[in-house]
């Protein structure tokens, strides 16, 4: 049984155009389903605004889903800020993109790493102090950092502190929302390793949200590609990146800088991603897809498994229609 199961998640936001304009409904998430087993890492990739972070917040129950439901550990997700929801926080944690923003600048690091233990009443003061020291050591900080304030640490050290705080109560699920994209390239790998080691050691389920395909490939057991609030492709990271099935994934993969390849092979997508408020009919990607046929504009492709187990939401990839011309 999977630890986390999300089915048909829909999240709508309302936005008003102008002072008296009509209200537009934006479907930030449009039927996202995913499963995560204990000890497994699912990488969630896509361009900004595609709903990756919203998915992360919804599976944690930080926001209610407008449709669909989340099941965690066999029980449905309680509503936000209810006592059951608060108790559940000890079992699921989030790592934010901006570690300086996620830390209280008035409290020393040690007190903040200890905080989840205090909130969830784990142990007495002495036991908690020992646990904090162990946690700091686990993420590669030394005991001296406990008395420091967030502004006295470097970006990488802050993110380590945030990871230590997230690990404090021994959670089963961690959602990491772009945990390294605010960091210097030179320390991204270190922080990534800290996260990967903690995941392996504690058997965590990790939902890794990122726009960096290479990092996702490095840490994930499975990868899901999102476009405009939907998952368009899901499978083994190596297979997906070597032989992408969806045309959007192909464009994403070809955008990975490669030293030995000429730029001529890159697929450059035309135009901007459409607004979720004005979703194209049929496959949301068809206006930008080089291989789109008439069917693509008419029918929404379903996310369904191919023979090799890869899930793709594309008429052409499933052979429901023949491409007019070969994509680059």
């Amino acid at each position: 049984m999977p630890l986390l199961k999300a089915e048909g998640l829909v999240r709508r936001y309302e936005s008003r155009q102008g002072l008296f304009g009509r209200i537009a409904h934006i479907r930030a998430l449009d039927g996202v389903s995913l499963e995560l087993r204990k000890g497994e890492t699912l990488g969630l990739v896509g361009e900004s605004g595609c709903g990756k972070s919203t998915t992360g917040r919804l599976v944690l129950g930080l926001e209610p889903a407008d449709e669909g439901h989340v099941v965690f550990g066999g029980a449905p997700m309680p509503g936000p800020t209810t006592p059951e929801w608060r108790r559940l926080r000890a079992r699921m944690q989030m790592i934010h993109q901006d570690p300086l923003g996620a830390l209280d600048r008035r409290l020393p690091i040690g007190a903040q790493v200890e905080e989840p233990l205090v909130i969830h009443r784990r142990g007495d003061a002495a036991a908690r102090a020992g646990r904090v020291a162990a946690l700091l050591e686990e993420v590669g900080l030394d005991a001296g950092h406990a008395a420091r304030y967030p502004h006295e640490l470097s970006g990488g050290q802050r993110q380590r502190a945030v990871i230590a705080r997230a690990l404090a109560t021994g959670p089963e699920l961690i959602v990491a929302d772009e945990p390294i994209s605010a960091l210097d390239v030179s320390i991204q790998a270190q922080v990534m390793n800290v996260l990967a080691e903690a995941q392996a050691r504690h058997g965590l389920a990790l939902l890794f949200v990122s726009h960096d395909l290479r990092v996702v490939r490095q840490v994930s057991h499975r990868v899901a590609v999102m476009y405009l609030g939907r998952i368009v492709e899901e499978g083994e990271p190596d297979a997906v990146l070597r032989e992408p099935a969806h045309f959007y994934t192909r464009a994403l993969v070809s955008a990975i800088p490669h030293p030995s390849r000429r730029d001529a092979k890159r697929i450059v997508l035309k135009g901007d991603p459409p607004s979720p408020a004005a979703r194209p009919a049929g496959c949301a990607f068809h206006p930008r897809c080089a291989a789109a046929v008439a069917l693509c504009a008419r029918e929404v492709p379903e996310l369904k498994p191919r023979a090799d187990g890869r899930k793709v939401a594309c008429h052409l990839a499933h052979g429901d229609a023949m491409p007019v011309r070969k994509a680059a």
């Binding site: 926080r89 989030m94 600048r105 020393p108 040690g110 909130i119 002495a126 102090a129 904090v132």
Partner: protein, 289 residues
């Protein structure tokens, strides 16, 4: 936790900065004022109502008077020093009380608005707008005229002064902290609203609120003076600093000393509070240490 912190090498702690002389002076002044307020019935040379009709408008020592009335006497022969000391007690009680009431009420309403949003927020904001657009003196006059003047009512009424500033500040800062930053992170850890607001949001916005309080403190002293002068604040024979200044205005040319000493106390106290607030704000912020 505290034992673990204490055991750490001292290198992580910076040497304690010395208190700047102006702040030291402000601290001493406020301490002296508080000491006076606490012990006035024992240190005042006379009762504040005691008349000495043969020594009316008697000048103070430094203006050619004698030591019986160090700061001189007023038009009824009441000792200015005694009245000044009693005035300090009443004015400090009103100013501190009203400032604290205003800050507590405003911050509470601001947090409620930020936490509950929706209708509660609309009501709080509407009230704040109403308060800001209404000349406070008119509101105070009408309330005091209808309900009569009592010290408790006066303090509570002056406490209403400026609450909308605290409410707006705390609401805005709490919302911004809750949307993205540390407050959202702590809520996500499973913290109760009490913990989020009490332990994280309040200490983080305290510096802004303290500055706002140091601005409100002199305003309240002046407001109290104005109300007393109009006859709706502190009622004679009770006396406050504003009250003394108000009644001494008529004798400004003949007996300026009656007005001089309370005016000086007002200036020194408000200045001290401002300096202390400024220093406290820097002191409370670990990033500025």
């Amino acid at each position: 936790m505290s034992t673990a912190l204490a055991a750490l090498p001292a290198t992580t702690r910076k040497p304690r900065a010395t208190v700047p002389p102006m702040v030291a002076f402000a601290l001493c002044w406020i301490a002296a004022m508080l000491a006076v307020a606490a012990t006035v019935q024992w240190i005042a040379p006379y009762s504040y109502t005691a008349l000495d009709l043969r020594a009316r408008l008697h000048p103070p020592v430094f203006m050619g008077g004698d030591w019986r009335h160090i700061l001189g006497t007023d038009e009824l022969g009441r000792d200015v020093l005694a009245r000044l000391l009693y005035s300090i007690r009443l004015s400090l009680l009103i100013a501190f009380g009203a400032t604290l009431i205003g800050a507590a009420l405003g911050t509470l309403l601001g947090f409620l608005a930020a936490h509950l949003r929706g209708l509660v927020e609309q009501v709080v904001l509407a009230l704040a707008d109403f308060q800001a657009s209404m000349p406070f003196l008119i509101l105070a006059l009408s309330v005091l005229a209808f309900f009569g003047t009592s010290l408790t009512l006066l303090i509570c009424l002056l406490g209403l002064h400026g609450w909308e500033r605290y409410a707006r500040i705390s609401r805005g800062l709490a919302i911004s902290a809750g949307a993205q930053g540390y407050a959202a992170a702590v809520r996500q850890l499973g913290a109760s609203p009490w913990r989020v607001y009490g332990r994280h949001v309040l200490p983080n916005i305290a510096s802004t609120l303290i500055v706002s309080m140091t601005l409100a403190f002199p305003e309240i002293i002046l407001l109290e003076s104005g109300l007393s002068f109009l006859g709706l604040g502190v009622q004679p024979p009770e006396t406050s600093l504003g009250n003394m200044v108000g009644y001494a205005r008529e004798y400004l040319t003949r007996a300026p000393w009656i007005l001089l000493s309370p005016a000086m106390v007002i200036v020194m106290t408000t200045l001290s509070v401002s300096m202390l607030g400024d220093w406290l704000r820097d002191k409370l912020d670990p990033t500025l240490r």
